[in-house]
C-alpha cells in the first residue's frame, strides 16, 4: 500500500469524492462501510475473560479483557476501574519508525483511556455506563475490586482505525463474563450468638449484602471473598449496552465520507472522530470528540455533523449488536 500520496494522487481522490455523484475507489457510496467481520469469545483469546476480533477491509483489531483482583486499600482507586492499553503491531505501520509508532500507540491509548475513565468527583446525578460497569466490578466495597484490563492490538491499519478499535472494545466488553463472588467473614468462635461453633474460622455467607450501599458497615466486616463457580462462568458487565462507539467523519469542504481507506484518509484534510454512547432508550450522549488534520471548518457545518454522526452511530451499533447477540447471548 502506498505510504505517502503524491499531490496528483491526492487531487485525483479529492476530485472524484467531490464530484456528483461522489465516486470512491472501491465503488462504495460515501456513507457505506466496508464489510465488518466480527469474531468473539474463545476463538480469539482463550485465556481472556472476554475477547473479540474485528476486521473491516484491511483494518484488523484484536481486543481482549483480562480481569485481575485489585486491593483497593493500597491504591488510590476506590472502586473497580478500567485500564486501557493499545499496541500497534509493527506490521501495521511499516513506513513509520519506532518513535512514530510509539506516538500512534500512545494517541490511541489516550483516547481509549479517556473514554473509559470516569470522573469520580462528579456531582452529576445521571450515572454513566462506567458507574454501572464499576458496580459489577466491585467485589468488597472499599476493599477489593476487579481491575479490568482492556488491551487492544492493531494488527493492520487499512484506514479508519478509530472506529474499528472502539468496535473491538465494545465487542470484547460485551463478551466479558465477570466471575461471581461471595463475601466471606471470619468470626471469633468464643463470641456468643455465633451460628456455627465447629472451627476457628467460620465462613458466613453474606450474599448480596455488599450490593446495597446502605449496609456498608456490615459489609466492611467481610474479610475476603471466594469464587462461586468456575472462572469462565459469570455475569455480563452491567451497562455494556451503553459502551461507546466511535464514528470517524472524513471531511471535505462539501461532503463527508465514512470508513475511509488508508489512501482516502491521507487525501482528506480533516477527520472528526466522535464517540457516542447510547442509553437503552436510544438517546445519544457524547463520550468524546477529537479533530485531526490540517483543515478547518465553519461552526455551523460542525454542529450539523454532530447530529449526522449520531445517525451513523445508531446504524453501526444496531448491526454490531445484532451480530454480537447471535454469537453470544
Amino acid at each position: 500500500m502506498a505510504t505517502i500520496l503524491s499531490k496528483a494522487e491526492k487531487s485525483y481522490i479529492v476530485t472524484s469524492l467531490t464530484s456528483s455523484p461522489p465516486l470512491r475507489q472501491d465503488g462504495r457510496a460515501p456513507h457505506d462501510y466496508r464489510i465488518i467481520s466480527v469474531i468473539t469469545g474463545d476463538e480469539v483469546a482463550p485465556l481472556a475473560n472476554g475477547s473479540a476480533k474485528i476486521r473491516v477491509g484491511g483494518t484488523e483489531v484484536v481486543s481482549a479483557v483480562r480481569l485481575e483482583v485489585e486491593d483497593l486499600t493500597s491504591t488510590d482507586a476506590h472502586k473497580g476501574r478500567i485500564r486501557c492499553n493499545v499496541t500497534c503491531s509493527p506490521a501495521a505501520y511499516p513506513h513509520l519508525n519506532g518513535n512514530q509508532q510509539d506516538d500512534i500507540q500512545s494517541d490511541l491509548t489516550s483516547i481509549l483511556q479517556a473514554t473509559f475513565t470516569s470522573n469520580d468527583g462528579s456531582t452529576s446525578t445521571t450515572p454513566t455506563f462506567l458507574h454501572q460497569m464499576s458496580e459489577t466490578l466491585t467485589i468488597l466495597p472499599g476493599r477489593k475490586a476487579w481491575l479490568l484490563n482492556l488491551d487492544a492490538v492493531v494488527l493492520s491499519d487499512g484506514g479508519n482505525v478509530y472506529d474499528v478499535l472502539f468496535m473491538a472494545c465494545r465487542a470484547a466488553l460485551w463478551n466479558t463474563r465477570v466471575p461471581k463472588t461471595r463475601a466471606v467473614e471470619y468470626r471469633d468462635p468464643t463470641q456468643k450468638g455465633v451460628a456455627g461453633e465447629k472451627t476457628i474460622n467460620n465462613d458466613v455467607e453474606m450474599t448480596d449484602l455488599w450490593k446495597s450501599s446502605v449496609q456498608t458497615k456490615k459489609a466492611t466486616k467481610a474479610a475476603d471473598f471466594e469464587l462461586e463457580d468456575y472462572w469462565d462462568h459469570g455475569e455480563p458487565l452491567a451497562g455494556r449496552a451503553r459502551c461507546p462507539i466511535a464514528i470517524t467523519l472524513n471531511l471535505l469542504p462539501t461532503v463527508h465520507i465514512l470508513d475511509a481507506t488508508r489512501t482516502e484518509e491521507q487525501a482528506v484534510p480533516l477527520k472528526l472522530v466522535i464517540i457516542y454512547s447510547f442509553s437503552q432508550d436510544g438517546d445519544a450522549c457524547f463520550a468524546g470528540m477529537r479533530m485531526l488534520g490540517p483543515g478547518d471548518l465553519p461552526l455551523e457545518y460542525l454542529k450539523g455533523l454532530l447530529g449526522e454522526g449520531e445517525k451513523y452511530a445508531k446504524n453501526l451499533i444496531l448491526s454490531l449488536d445484532s451480530q454480537l447477540k447471535t454469537q453470544w447471548s
Binding site: 462528579s122 456531582t123 450522549c285 463520550a287 465553519p298 454542529k303
Partner: protein, 266 residues
C-alpha cells in the same frame, strides 16, 4: 530499606513516612448565587495576562497567565530540518512539558504520557492556522512549559493562545490568530474556563479552538459524558467568548509591536 532504585545523588525522602491527616472541612460550594468562588459569573473566563518577549533568545515567545494557570511558550522557527527526507511542507513540532512543581502531585522530570496528549491537542489547534507550505524543508518548533496548572482543559486553551501569539511574534505567517476556550458542564449549567475543582465536579468538558478572523473551528475536544443538546450549548458558549479572547491576543501583539518600535527609535 535498600531499594534497587535508591540513588544517593538525589535528595531522598525518609525511609518511613505517614500522610498528614486533615480534618474534614465542609467543602466550599463551587457556585453561590450564580457566582463562582472567585466571584465571576458562570460564563466568564478568568482574566488573562498575555505578553510577548519573555525568552530573549527565542525567535518568538509569549507568557500567559489566567488565574493560577501560568504558561511560558517559546518558538524557534524556521529551523532547517537536517538528516530528514525532503518535504515540500514544513513540520510543526509542539512539545509540552510540565514543570515538576506545576501540579499537586510532583511531575517526574522525564517525559510522561500526558505531555504528549496535551502537545497533540495544542498541535491540532495550531496546525490549520500555520501556513506550512511556505516553509519547505524546515521545522517550526514550539516549546511550552507549564509553570502552574489549574485545570487541564484551561491549560490546553491557554497554551494554544500563547503558542499562536509566540508564532506571530516570531514572524511565522498564519491565516489568523488561534484562540481557544474550554467549558465544563454540570447540573447547574455551563461553566467557562473551569479550574481543577470545577472540572472534577463536572459531568464532562469540551474545548473549542478556532480562528475568529476566518470564523472557522480548528479543534474540538470533548471528554466525559455530555448529551447532544448540552454539547451544542457548550460549543456556543465557548464560541461566544472567541471575540473577547481574540481582542486580548491582538492587544498583546500591538503592545509588543509598539515596544519594538520605541526601541528602534531610541
Amino acid at each position: 530499606m535498600a531499594q534497587p532504585s535508591f540513588d544517593r545523588r538525589r535528595v531522598n525522602g525518609p525511609e518511613e513516612s505517614f500522610p498528614p491527616i486533615f480534618p474534614d472541612l465542609p467543602a466550599e460550594p463551587l457556585v453561590t448565587n450564580g457566582k463562582r468562588r472567585d466571584g465571576r459569573a458562570l460564563n466568564d473566563v478568568r482574566p488573562i495576562f498575555l505578553q510577548t518577549g519573555l525568552i530573549s533568545q527565542a525567535n518568538g515567545s509569549a507568557y500567559i497567565e489566567t488565574g493560577n494557570t501560568k504558561i511560558a511558550c517559546a518558538v524557534y522557527a524556521p529551523r532547517q530540518l537536517k538528516n530528514a527526507q525532503y518535504s515540500d511542507v514544513g513540520r510543526l513540532n509542539v512539545e509540552v512539558k510540565f514543570a515538576p512543581f506545576s501540579s499537586k502531585i510532583r511531575r517526574a522530570h522525564l517525559r510522561d504520557v500526558e505531555d504528549r496528549s496535551i502537545g497533540q491537542l495544542v498541535y491540532q489547534s495550531l496546525l490549520p492556522a500555520v501556513q506550512l507550505h511556505l516553509f519547505p524543508k524546515s521545522s517550526i518548533d514550539v516549546f511550552i512549559t507549564i509553570i502552574e496548572n489549574d485545570g487541564l482543559e484551561s491549560c490546553v486553551a491557554s497554551a494554544s493562545m500563547a503558542a499562536s501569539t509566540a508564532l506571530a511574534d516570531a514572524g511565522i505567517e498564519m491565516l489568523g490568530m488561534v484562540v481557544s476556550c474550554c467549558s465544563a458542564i454540570n447540573d447547574d449549567g455551563i461553566w467557562l474556563d473551569p479550574d481543577t475543582a470545577e472540572v472534577k465536579a463536572s459531568r464532562g468538558t469540551l474545548l473549542l479552538a478556532g480562528l475568529p478572523a476566518l470564523g472557522t473551528i480548528t479543534n474540538l475536544w470533548q471528554a466525559g459524558q455530555i448529551t447532544s443538546l448540552d454539547a451544542l450549548r457548550c460549543i456556543d458558549a465557548c464560541h461566544e467568548r472567541f471575540k473577547d479572547l481574540h481582542d486580548v491576543v491582538i492587544d498583546a501583539l500591538m503592545q509588543s509591536n509598539r515596544a519594538k518600535q520605541a526601541q528602534a527609535l531610541s
